[in-house]
């Protein structure tokens, strides 16, 4: 597993990356993940969200509580939130 290696991440890059991650969880989805749609609509249930949060946490190297996905339920919102978190915490975590 590769860690996302960029210190200053643009929300749009992060969004693209998250879209790919979400797609891994939804192998049967025959279309691209729409960043404006809620993840719950794709059938990513509350248990899966816990695993997904852990996955994102591990790859970004910052703490990502599953509740962050509850509070920012679309990929677009989540990307903005995580980009802000990354900008704030990345220097200390390194």
């Amino acid at each position: 597993m590769t860690t996302y290696g960029v210190d200053q991440v643009a929300p749009s890059d992060l969004q693209r990356w998250l879209v790919e991650r979400v797609a891994e969880y939804l192998p049967d989805l025959g279309e691209a993940v729409d960043p404006t749609r809620q993840l719950g609509e794709y059938g990513l249930d509350s248990i899966a969200v816990v695993a997904f949060a852990a996955d994102v946490e591990e790859q970004l190297g910052i703490a990502v509580d599953p509740t962050a996905i509850w509070d920012y339920p679309s990929v677009g919102e989540l990307a903005e939130h995580l980009a802000a978190e990354l900008a704030e915490r990345r220097p200390q975590a390194a």
Binding site: L26, G43, I47, A48, D65
Partner: protein, 577 residues
């Protein structure tokens, strides 16, 4: 310690005419009436104080001791333990929410003996918390509730009800909120009890429901934050699921007691029953079930203090594993009791049929075996051995399972929805390496090393199989559920090994000599993993011999079962974060 006098009080109360007289309790069971005398005796003794955290004026400061208490009650009568212990479940959300909620008010009520119900399930929702349709809408400064919770234990008798309500019509994980309702403070006819349900077991308990009809409740009924309900409930369940397994331990104690009496009384072919090899090995297997259940339950209870951030995994393992294990144990014991396990009118033995019926609810409520296993299965890819950094040494169960270790105060704020790791199973490689490095060269130690080595191999195989599991967005596949089950067996084996490492006392005495109890646990685990050790029969036979020949030795490896537990050194440790 006051807790130690509960077993002797229960023994007193069980005499003819007492509140726990088995005849009185079985009459309640038959008539499906509430065991009010027994619950009143527990109130008078002060059990409700153990449902309230010390910081709110109660006596709840150690989950391991609390489990031991509820287990003692359950060993006497499971229906009473379910009926009374429910108040603990009803309170947790409020304690968890902290001072922001009605915690002090609730504490005063519980200490005064008020039962509290916890309403999560709805007729159409079952295990799916997000399907809840009981709705709370703002009304003036307070709220208005409409809808049903069913089935709910204590729903009719309890004046206080903690419920999960939908506060956002769209639902979702931020669409639910917890409320603590005092029925006495609601307008007439706006809260209606739903009738008591006839049940297969726990027949005397108040299994009913409640209907809210535009019920107005004050602002201070809100527990935690608006939209914070699901998070609160999922965290509360991490504690209640661990506590629930004490009900299984008590059922196991009760059944083993009946089995011992039977082995003592029953003579066949002019001999004691235990002279039949099959009877001995089956009795030994039943004892091994109890030891393994204890290891998991006790480890989970201590983990709540030491590694609360890991409880989402540990509580799911405990609740999926222990009640199922005890179900299997009851089947073994029922087989041995034969006719006496089936007839309800034979003096004394009728209790078996009742406890077996009563226990069937334990794997169902507070999240069924499958719901918990699914929760574990969902995060399995993250728990793959070696994927995440191992815990520090201070977080190792060997450290915090020591007898003299005084658990850090329970800090509910450290609970998380996602465990960063599993320190118990994660400790397995070090535990096994520790065995290999032992100076001891006895035959028993060699056998322990060989069983533990086989367990480590099974764990490594599990790790390999986990590497192929892809996380999914929906329910886990059947194959992944089976991996979760293997994970539970490995966890149980690690818990038993950790207990063995942590407590030198467990290497002596009737169960500890030749490491017999540990061999029993590891053998059972390896069987569960499809790797039955060659010497399994001999191992169970040895345990069965003690079950039959030393009736006064409790079938337990936990010190808190006896009144003369070793003195604790009283030191308080700050847990490792």
């Amino acid at each position: 310690m006051r807790t130690v006098d509960l077993p002797s009080r229960l023994a007193e109360w069980s005499r003819p005419g007492g509140p726990f007289d088995p005849a009185v309790l079985s009459a309640h069971d038959e008539a499906e009436t509430f065991p009010a005398e027994a619950c009143a005796a527990l109130d008078a003794w002060g059990l409700p104080a153990y449902y309230v955290p010390a910081r709110h004026g109660g006596r709840q400061d150690r989950l391991d001791e609390f489990l031991a208490l509820l287990r003692t009650v359950a060993a006497q009568d499971l229906t009473v333990a379910v009926a009374h212990g429910k108040t603990f479940l009803g309170g947790v959300c409020t304690w968890l929410a902290g001072d922001a909620g009605p915690a002090d008010l609730l504490a005063r009520q519980v200490l005064a003996g008020e039962p509290v119900a916890w309403g999560l399930t709805e007729p159409d929702g079952g295990s799916d918390l997000l399907a809840g349709s009981l709705t709370a809408t703002r009304h003036g400064s307070g709220w208005q509730l409409s809808g049903r919770k069913w089935p709910v234990n204590n729903a009719t008798r309890g004046h206080l009800l903690c419920v999960l309500a939908r506060t956002d019509p769209a639902g979702g994980p931020r669409g639910f909120t917890v409320f603590l309702i005092d029925k006495r403070a609601t307008a007439v006819d706006t809260v209606r009890p739903l009738p008591k349900m006839p049940t297969h077991g726990v027949r005397g308990a108040d299994i009913s429901g409640v209907e809210f009809r535009q019920t107005r409740v004050p602002a201070h009924a809100l527990v935690g934050t608006v939209g914070g309900g699901l998070e609160l409930v999922l965290k509360a369940l991490q504690l209640t699921r661990i506590v629930c397994v004490s009900l299984s331990l008590g059922a196991g104690d009760h059944a083993l007691g009946l089995l011992r009496r039977f082995l003592h009384e029953r003579r066949l072919y002019g001999r004691q029953l235990a002279s039949l090899p099959h009877v001995r090995t089956t009795a030994g297997r039943a004892a091994a079930h109890q030891f393994l259940a204890e290891a998991v339950a006790h480890t989970a209870a201590r983990a709540a203090h030491q590694v609360p951030e890991e409880l989402s995994v540990i509580s799911a393992v405990a609740k999926a594993f222990v009640p199922s294990l005890i179900q299997s144990q009851l089947r073994l014991i029922g087989d041995l009791l034969g006719t006496r396990g089936f007839l309800t009118g034979v003096e004394g033995y009728g209790a078996f049929a009742k406890l077996e019926r009563d226990h069937q609810v334990v794997p169902i409520f507070d999240g069924s075996t499958w719901v918990n296993r699914a929760a574990l299965a969902g995060v399995l890819p993250l728990l793959r051995p070696g994927r995440r950094a191992a815990a520090s040494e201070a977080a190792s169960p060997v450290h915090w399972l020591r007898e003299e270790h005084h658990p850090a105060p329970l800090d509910m704020r450290r609970l998380r929805l996602m465990a960063p790791r599993d320190s118990v199973l994660g400790a397995l490689p070090a535990l096994v390496a520790g065995l290999d490095a032992r100076e001891e060269s006895s035959k028993a130690a060699a056998e322990t090393a060989s069983l533990a080595g086989a367990l480590l191999e099974a764990y490594e195989r599990l790790g390999t199989d986990l590497a192929d599991v892809r996380p999914t967005g929906g329910p886990p596949s059947t194959a992944t559920m089976r991996l979760a089950e293997r994970y539970e067996w490995c966890f149980a084996g690690a818990a038993a090994l950790a207990l063995h490492h942590a407590r030198p006392r467990l290497r002596t005495g009737p169960w500890g000599t030749d490491e017999a109890w540990l061999h029993g646990c590891l053998t059972l685990v390896l069987e569960g993993l499809g790797r039955r050790p060659a010497q399994a029969t001999r191992t169970y036979d040895r345990l069965g011999t003690v079950v039959a020949s030393a009736p006064d030795v409790p079938v337990s490896v936990l010190d808190d079962r006896g009144p003369d537990g070793p003195a604790r050194d009283g030191s308080v440790e700050v847990s490792a974060t």
